[in-house]
Symmetry: C2
Subunit: 429 residues, 2 copies
């Protein structure tokens, strides 16, 4: 794993490469994805059948074939090991409890002249969750996307996922049961996003689409944005760690690798003011790598996109990390909480040596759907408010419009909007 020194003249260029990580080449696939979306818009289920035959290698015979039955989910749940059931229920309960704390409240505010102003919070009617399938299925992703929608109070939650050769993953089925058996349709990729954005004979049009996916899914989400809302456009996973001389190199190493094993495109960046910690961590990384099941992926990611940066002090480490704005940020210093005021941009912040990033992936409670590629500068983690929206509330009394109507009319007049002006003046007659 390469070690970079901030005082090295070449560092600026090396750091710019880190900042440019995770850029997705959406332009490349946009044409294909647009074609898929238009087919689904125009032909509905018929297009889905064709795409499923092509990508998932099975042929639905009727509209009903698209849906996964609740009985299947129940049966699969019952067959899960007790250990796994217990772990999934613990995750479900903790994720639910955390997201309940996020719930915004409607509010009203009153003025002496009788004015009432406020904000009403309402869930969206329908939400769509995309769950990737194919190579692997991550039950944690299903939980992390469906639970916030449940907590928000969304009445209709729809799940779409590709089911290769029409053989649903038993774990997916069991996890769906734990999530209350939302309506689940066997379609994946850009077709699934289009189906949820515009509706088909079988799949309802939703208001918000969330969930991870490959570049085709990400591009489809960007293209349908505006017709529906989406959570974010997410790229490869990443971790940043700020560590001082008190950090344990074996913890740092395995945490860096826990991102690296996700994806060859994943980025794992340690920034420390201790040269010794840097050197020791690089050695530990090599030790762990040799015994990893996913060694090949992790090694490519660590070698090509990983880095250990040695700074002059911790403040400099924080400054660089704020520029990176990592998806996951671990702080492994003597007193991690004292750095919190200076941390500006990160999807999730993991404090102290007993909070490895995987704790946040599964069991802690906060969402693991987080902004990547520096978008933590403006995006938030997936949260209940993605499934809710606000309406302003305005009520003026007679006294209030008498007090402020003139100023309102002056502004409307200034903008040349005289029907606006008259609408106010009509009340002042």
């Amino acid at each position: 794993m390469k070690i970079l020194d901030v005082n090295n003249p070449g560092f600026k260029k090396e750091f710019e490469e880190i900042l440019a990580r995770g850029k997705m080449d959406i332009e490349n696939v946009e044409g294909i994805v647009k074609g898929i979306i238009n087919e689904v818009k125009e032909e509905g289920n018929k297009a889905l059948f064709r795409h499923i035959a092509k990508f998932d290698r099975w042929e639905p015979k009727s509209d009903n074939d698209l849906e996964i039955g609740k009985d299947e989910m129940k049966k699969a749940y019952e067959n899960l090991s007790d250990e796994l059931k217990k772990a999934l229920h613990l995750a479900f309960d903790r994720i639910k409890a955390y997201h309940e704390k996020q719930l915004p409240k409607s509010w009203l505010d009153f003025e002496k002249n009788g004015t009432i102003l406020g904000q009403k919070v309402t869930p969206v009617d329908k939400a769509g969750v995309y769950v990737p399938g194919g190579k692997a299925f991550y039950p944690s992703s299903l939980l992390m996307n469906v639970i916030p929608a449940i907590v928000a109070g969304v009445e209709e939650i729809v799940v779409t996922t590709p089911v290769i050769e029409n053989k649903p993953n038993e774990l997916l089925l069991g996890a769906l049961y734990i999530c209350g058996c939302p309506k689940t349709y066997k379609v994946g990729g850009a077709s699934a996003i289009a189906a949820m954005a515009y509706g088909t004979e079988t799949i309802p049009k939703v208001d918000v689409i969330t969930g991870p996916g490959n570049i085709f899914v990400a591009t489809a989400k960007k293209l349908v944005y505006g017709d529906v809302n989406i959570d974010m456009i997410a790229g490869p996973s990443e971790i940043g760690i700020i560590a001082d001389e008190s950090a344990r190199p074996n913890y740092l190493a395995i945490d860096l690798l826990s991102q690296a094993e996700h994806d060859e495109m994943a980025s794992s960046i340690l920034i420390t003011d201790s040269k010794e910690v840097a050197d020791m961590t690089a050695i530990e990384v090599e030790k762990f790598l040799k015994n990893l099941e996913r060694e090949e992926i992790a090694r490519k990611s660590i070698e090509e996109r990983g880095a250990i940066i040695v700074t002059n002090d911790i403040d400099e480490a924080i400054e660089l990390m704020n520029k990176i704005a990592p998806e996951h940020l671990e702080i492994m210093t003597k007193n991690p909480f004292e750095l919190l005021p200076k941390i500006k941009h990160a999807g999730a912040i993991f404090l102290g040596e007993y909070t490895p990033e995987p704790i946040g992936d599964y069991i802690a409670g906060p969402n693991h759907t987080l902004p990547t590629g520096g978008t933590a500068k403006f995006y938030s983690p997936l949260n209940v408010e993605v499934f809710m929206k606000k309406s302003s509330i305005i009520s003026f009394s007679k006294q209030a419009i008498e007090e402020m109507g003139k100023e309102c009319a002056v502004l409307a007049h200034t903008e040349g909007l005289t029907a606006h002006e008259k609408s106010v003046l009509e009340r002042l007659k």
Copy 2:
């Protein structure tokens, strides 16, 4: 103005047309806008100079020419009439006070085993506000976009606006002074959005772009979405009114017209359970229309895109209005607050006869940048949180990871992510 009866067999089709209002044909201009964005990305200011010469009819000679000076703003402010100054300051103060009430707080939550979970709220570093110019300038739009960014605590706020023939609007300059003289650059349209999204030699790259604009601006915002965040993609303005027999037809009529005068594409829809109110309002609309400065625009909008719908009862009116999800919703019934629980989708809700919609455009305090075309089903009004984002906070104690680490490791193992599993197990050794 046409009056529709829900019991009429043709109503379903008529209502579907209302639901399909405000669809923008982004595909049509996407190619042009992509070209403009790429030029700005590749050539920076040089491209801006060319676009300004073409669209705004003046030729910047140097990079400095792009910026509006603070002295100019101050001088223009001093020349505003006292009446207008007072009105603008009242608007500024009330908008600021309302948005301060929206400010979310960071929070922490503690568990007995030493776990700390929470959410940190941080403003974005840089925000960009687009202000349309050309035919008209609306100082209220500047206030409504800049004030939430100020309240959010954004350190650098940038404004862009086209300045035709390099002659800035005096009102714009005065309003900029009231907003604290943000850095303001004379460039408009898709070029301005691209400049703020990617940065040029002069204009800084921002994290979030907000502000209204024509279809070129809306398309540019959609295209840069993901590289920066945006508020929403907004279309033509619209009003929906729910009224019972207690409503005054003259108020209803002028309020419908206050949206119609904005734009030929604007929609004004009254839904009432009183045939008499419907008929009387249509007559009043005609009376007002004849004396409107913007009669031509308002007439076209009212005739082509306006409608009065007569329902069997108020519940049916609410049901239809929730399907419309209007940008502005006025409730003109005997007891408007009692309908509030049933109102699901609207950008802003105006209650009672002394709350005409223009009050919300200028002086009430809530934002007038609102979701249009039915997107109130998933978008919120512009608000301080658009200029802020959240980071999850997770801190596990030794006891906490000892209690829950096993379940976490089970889930990681199930997903085949064994470095994740090892990262937890390493702490349990």
